[in-house]
C-alpha cells in the first residue's frame, strides 16, 4: 500500500510539473521534452512486458514504428481523420500482438527464443518500411504527416504536441497502475517468478502473456502514433535496431522493476544524448553501448532498483531471515 502511495505521489508531481513546462522552457527544448515524454510511454510499455512479465523484447521499436507508420499512412495516403487513424494504429498493433502472442506463447516459445524472434520482427518491420516505397516512402520516409486534430481539440504545433504527449503519458500510467495493482498484475508477477507453478495453479499462462504483450504493444504503438503526429514525419529509423536497443537501455538503466525507473531511464539517457552529441557528434551509440554494458554488469536492478535495494538495507537493519539473504 505504501508503495502505491509513493508511486502515486511521484506521478502526480510529475504530471503537474510537466504542465508548467511550456512557461519555463523555450520552444526548441519543449520539442525535446515532448520527445522524452513520448519515449517515456514506450519505456513504460517495455517495462511492463519485461519487468512485470519477464519477457524481453529486443525489437520493441518495431511496435513503436508500426503505430507511427500506420498513423502516417492512414492520414496521408488513405486520408482518414487523424483521430480515427490514431485509434486504428493502436487497434491494428494490438491485433498484430495478439496474433504474435497466440502464435508464439501458445506454441511454448519463451525466453531467449522469444527475444530473438522479436528481433527478427523488428528486422522484418525495417525491411518492409524500406522496400515498400509506394506506401511507406522507403528510405526517405513520409514527410508532412498531419498533426492530431479531433474536433475542437487541436494538438498541432509544439505546444499542442507537448500537451498531447502529457495526456498520453498520464493515460499510460493510469493503465499500467490499474493492471499492476490488480489481481491480473499479481498473476503476471507469478508467471514471471515461476511459470510452471503458475500453470499448476490453474492459470492459462500463455493467455496472460499474450494479453500482456497486447497491452505493451498497444502502448508502444500509441506512443509511435503520437510521435508521428507531433513531429509530422515517419522514417525507417523509427523501427531500427539502435532505437530498440536504446529502449532497452532506458529500462535497464532506470530499473526494470519500477515504472518510475523506466521514466527515469528515459529522462537520464535522452538528456545525456543531447549533451554528449554536442561534444561527440557521431559517437552517441558508443555511449549507449557502454552505459548498457556497465549497468547490466554492475547495476542489474537499474538506478531506481539499486536505490530501493540500498534504501531497504540501510533503513531497515534487522536480522536477515535466511530466505531473504540471497537478494
Amino acid at each position: 500500500m505504501r508503495r502505491r502511495i509513493i508511486a502515486g505521489v511521484i506521478v502526480a508531481i510529475l504530471v503537474v510539473a510537466l504542465s508548467f513546462a511550456p512557461w519555463i522552457i523555450d520552444p526548441y527544448n519543449l520539442t525535446l521534452v515532448t520527445q522524452i515524454v513520448i519515449f517515456g510511454v514506450v519505456a513504460i510499455s517495455l517495462q511492463t512486458l519485461w519487468g512485470r512479465g519477464g519477457q524481453l523484447s529486443f525489437g520493441h521499436a518495431a511496435f513503436f514504428g508500426l503505430g507511427a507508420y500506420v498513423y502516417a499512412v492512414l492520414t496521408l495516403k488513405v486520408q482518414l481523420p487523424a483521430g480515427v487513424s490514431m485509434l486504428l494504429a493502436v487497434v491494428l498493433s494490438v491485433v498484430v500482438a495478439l496474433i504474435i502472442g497466440y502464435f508464439l506463447f501458445f506454441g511454448g516459445v519463451r525466453g531467449a527464443y522469444f527475444s530473438v524472434i522479436t528481433l527478427a520482427l523488428a528486422l522484418i518491420g525495417n525491411q518492409v518500411a524500406i522496400s515498400w516505397t509506394p506506401v511507406t516512402g522507403g528510405n526517405s520516409g513520409l514527410l508532412g504527416v498531419p498533426s492530431l486534430v479531433i474536433g475542437p481539440l487541436d494538438f498541432s504545433g509544439p505546444l499542442g504536441s507537448f500537451y498531447l504527449s502529457v495526456v498520453v503519458l498520464a493515460v499510460a500510467l493510469a493503465i499500467t497502475a490499474l493492471v499492476n495493482y490488480s489481481r491480473v498484475g499479481l498473476i503476471f508477477a507469478a508467471i514471471r517468478e515461476d511459470e510452471t507453478r503458475a500453470t499448476f495453479m490453474g492459470y492459462n499462462t500463455s493467455g496472460y502473456l499474450t494479453g500482456l504483450l497486447a497491452l505493451s504493444v498497444g502502448l508502444a504503438a500509441l506512443a509511435g502514433a503520437v510521435f508521428a503526429a507531433a513531429s509530422n514525419f515517419v522514417a525507417p529509423d523509427m523501427l531500427g535496431a539502435l532505437l530498440s536497443i536504446e529502449m532497452l537501455t532506458w529500462v535497464a538503466v532506470g530499473g526494470r522493476n519500477y515504472v518510475v525507473g523506466a521514466l527515469l531511464g528515459v529522462v537520464a539517457l535522452r538528456i545525456l544524448n543531447v549533451q554528449i552529441s554536442t561534444v561527440l557528434p557521431t559517437s552517441w551509440p558508443l555511449v549507449v553501448g557502454l552505459f548498457f554494458v556497465l549497468v547490466v554488469l554492475l547495476l542489474p536492478a537499474g538506478i531506481v532498483g539499486s536505490g530501493v535495494q540500498l534504501a531497504r538495507r540501510l533503513w531497515r537493519p534487522r536480522a536477515v531471515p535466511a530466505a531473504e539473504a540471497g537478494s
Binding site: Y113, I117, S131, I245, P285, F292, V293, V296
Partner: protein, 288 residues
C-alpha cells in the same frame, strides 16, 4: 541455363560465408547458451583485418591468418573478462553482448573512419562456368569456406577439445566434477566461434566495402539459422543456413531482395515455432 547456374553460384558464395558465421555462432550458443549479439562485429573485425593487410602491401592471403587470430583474441577477451561473470544470468549476457556490439562498431569507426574501405581483389578476373560469368575470387572463397567448415566439424567431432566440449554441452556440472575446467573451455570455444566469423569477414571483404556496420547484414541470417538448426549441432546449423541464405538468394530475383529477406525471416519464425528443437532431428549418441 546460365541464369540458373549464375543464381546457384551466387547462392553458394553467400551461403558459404553465412555458414561460417553461423557455425561460429552455433558453437558459442551451443556451448555457452549465450546468444552473441556482437557476433557481426567479429565479421567486421575480420574484414578490417583484411583491409589492414592489403593496404600495407602485404599479400591478401595473410589476412586469412590474421583475421582469425584477431577474432579469437577478441572473442576470448569478451568471454573471459565479461561474459564469464554472467553465467547465471543468460538474458543479461545477451544484453551485454548487445551493448558491446554498439561499442565495437564505434571503436571500429573511431579507428578506421566511417568512410568505406576497399580490399583489393587478390585473384582478379572472372571465368565462364556453363555460360555464367563468375569472379574467380568468389570461387576461391567458396572453396576456402568449405574447407574451414569441414575442418571445424571434424575438429569438434574427433579431437579431445571437441569431446570435452560435447561433455560440457551435455552436462556442465558432471563435466566439472570430472575435472574439466568449464570456464577455460568456454573461453576457447568463444574464441573459436569468433575466429570463424572473422574468417568469413576476411573472405567477404574483397567483394564489398568494409564499413563499421557491415556485420549486421550477416547476423540475422546466421542467428535464425542457428536456432533453426538446433542448438550447437553443426549439421543442423548448416541446414539452417542453407535454408535461410539459400532461399533468400534464390527468391530475390523474382520478388525483390528485401521482400525475399523479410519473407524468409517470416518462414523462419514459423519454423522455429513448429520445430523449436531445430529442423534436423537429433540422433542420439552422435555429434556432427
Amino acid at each position: 541455363m546460365d541464369v540458373i547456374v549464375s543464381l546457384l553460384l551466387n547462392a553458394a558464395f553467400l551461403v558459404s560465408v553465412v555458414a561460417l558465421v553461423a557455425l561460429g555462432l552455433g558453437v558459442i550458443y551451443g556451448l555457452l547458451g549465450v546468444i552473441n549479439m556482437a557476433h557481426g562485429e567479429f565479421v567486421a573485425l575480420g574484414a578490417y583485418a583484411a583491409f589492414l593487410v592489403t593496404s600495407s602491401g602485404v599479400p591478401y592471403w595473410l589476412a586469412l591468418i590474421l583475421a582469425p587470430l584477431l577474432g579469437m583474441g577478441a572473442g576470448m577477451a569478451l568471454q573471459g573478462a565479461i561474459l564469464s561473470r554472467l553465467v547465471s544470468r543468460p538474458l543479461d549476457a545477451i544484453l551485454v553482448t548487445l551493448g558491446l556490439s554498439l561499442v565495437f562498431q564505434q571503436i571500429l569507426q573511431a579507428v578506421f573512419g566511417a568512410v568505406p574501405r576497399t580490399v583489393a581483389n587478390p585473384t582478379p578476373g572472372a571465368i565462364d562456368i556453363l555460360g555464367a560469368t563468375f569472379p574467380i575470387f568468389r570461387l576461391v572463397a567458396i572453396l576456402i569456406a568449405v574447407a574451414v567448415i569441414v575442418a571445424t566439424i571434424l575438429f569438434l567431432a574427433r579431437s579431445e577439445f571437441g569431446i570435452v566440449v560435447r561433455a560440457i554441452l551435455q552436462n556442465r556440472e558432471a563435466a566439472s566434477v570430472n575435472g574439466v575446467n568449464a570456464a577455460r573451455y568456454s573461453v576457447w570455444a568463444f574464441g573459436l566461434g569468433a575466429a570463424l566469423a572473422a574468417i568469413a569477414g576476411a573472405l567477404i571483404a574483397p567483394s564489398t566495402n568494409v564499413i563499421p556496420l557491415m556485420g549486421a547484414t550477416y547476423l540475422a541470417p546466421a542467428f535464425v539459422a542457428v536456432i533453426l538448426g538446433g542448438a550447437g549441432r553443426p549439421s543442423g546449423v548448416l541446414v539452417g543456413v542453407a535454408f535461410m541464405a539459400g532461399l533468400e538468394v534464390l527468391l530475390a530475383p523474382y520478388i525483390g531482395a528485401t521482400v525475399a529477406r523479410a519473407g524468409v525471416l517470416v518462414l523462419a519464425i514459423i519454423a522455429i515455432r513448429l520445430r523449436p528443437d531445430g529442423l534436423v532431428r537429433e540422433k542420439k549418441d552422435r555429434f556432427a
